[in-house]
Symmetry: C2
Subunit: 271 residues, 2 copies
């Protein structure tokens, strides 16, 4: 499978990379169609914010060019971009000057059943809670053990995604998706300033919904509010939008507002 | 530098390793003297507990033999053992069956100034707080961005270690050490069931102190209790014990009980 390290074909990485040692880095998972990366500007913007917050040097222009060249070569699939703080000596102290290492890994698009998008999905209620860490909240960093534990909670095919709460019981997101709900015509999604990953599709749908004149709110949500929603859906930058049909014994129909945003997401990913 | 992957010399790792992708794994940092790993049983015990909690398969006997052979070859220095969940497809779901990958990295012993042990150290008061995640608390897992951020808070040589609190303000540990204090002859260290790394030297010193007839308590500690302590020290499995002399404007002497435990730690590491 296609993979580059610092712009050159390579399948192997130094065992002393700090991405391995500490999860000291960031990643993006980017849909590629017709040789072009979807939602490129949003992926680059999130990465730039992550680099500021982790104090990782970023050469944005050369990274963009590299991503474009990689996508061209990949053609169709998923480009996973990983930035790490490069090789480390022993110890947590960030090396000075820091060297950012770039990895690009190509793969096929995930083979999700088409029913997920068409008929909607059931959510598994994960027992794993997200810890509150405002310094890392929102970032797609390499410390993802909570997601590994949560995704390990179910093996059946009935549940396409899981619902994750924070330690205080707030509704935050899916294991690999963000969550939205509609209530009385207003689009709602969780505030991610304490935990969670601020997905690029989430950002894009919020922007598009506002453009369409929909009322949008980003704030704390509790389980009662989720269960009282008129429509619920999950989203990410690979599959677009999945309507949510069931959580435990609560059923939802696939609503018209969800379908509207799903069509927008589909257009964005068929770039 | 000496490094093995799954028992064979190798300096390079698959870019698709889940240790890199998600920090999906554990590590131990083991002092090696005269070809022998110090505190081996405690390192293996912590690793075994981590493997149970992360559901990583572990062949304990062959791992022990590999560590012994690696230490023999290393002679003097530090052996860093990393276990990861091996290569992943895309997605958080743990592969079934899981394959545990073993990495062993050799390096020199850290060159800490001898004054740290002899005269004691100053602690930097870290602003980075530890998030509460009971599912991961105590483990030495590969999700260590909090420590990277905390260690990045100071560059001066005045502070040899930092003090980390949890989000609620409890005193937990150092960035790469555990913290102990003595108050009225009782040895106290933080409860690590919400966050923190349960160090092998911490476990060993607790056991040895109990054998010596010292009263020991593992429980929540707040900053006032730390500041009111008679003696304070840090410990880990590489340097042993460092007396703490200062935190902000609070000064401590190097006390006799700290010296007693320091001597025990020194004996353990000169194995």
């Amino acid at each position: 499978m296609l993979s580059w390290i610092d712009g050159r074909p390579a399948e192997l990485l130094s065992v002393r990379d700090r991405g391995l040692a500490y999860g000291d880095g960031l990643f993006e998972t980017i849909a590629v169609s017709g040789g072009r990366p979807a939602l490129l500007e949003r992926h680059l913007a999130r990465l730039a914010e992550g680099c500021v917050r982790l104090q990782l040097p970023l050469e944005a222009t050369s990274l963009r060019n590299e991503l474009l060249a990689f996508s061209q070569q990949l053609g169709e699939g998923v480009a996973k971009l990983i930035l790490t703080r490069g090789d480390g000596l022993r110890g947590y102290a960030p090396p000075q000057p820091a060297m950012t290492r770039r990895l690009l890994l190509g793969g096929p698009k995930p083979a999700y059943p088409s029913q997920h998008a068409e008929q909607g999905v059931h959510l598994f209620p994960c027992a794993t809670r997200l810890a509150e860490q405002p310094l890392l909240a929102g970032l797609k960093h390499l410390n993802r053990l909570e997601q590994v534990l949560a995704r390990g909670e179910w093996q059946d095919d009935e549940h396409a995604e899981g619902l994750m709460l924070d330690a205080a019981g707030r509704v935050i997101e899916g294991v690999f998706s963000n969550l939205f709900l509609f209530k009385d015509g207003t689009l709602l999604t969780a505030d991610l300033s304490r935990c969670g990953v601020a997905g690029v599709m989430r950002a894009e749908l919020l922007a598009q919904a506002a453009t369409l004149g929909m009322a949008c709110e980003v704030r704390d949500l509790d389980l009662a509010e989720l269960l009282g929603a008129d429509e619920v859906f999950m989203c990410n930058s690979l599959y677009g939008v999945w309507p949510v049909r069931r959580l435990r014994d609560r059923d939802w129909p696939v609503g018209p507002l969800t379908r509207k945003l799903q069509a927008i997401a589909r257009d964005l990913l068929d770039c």
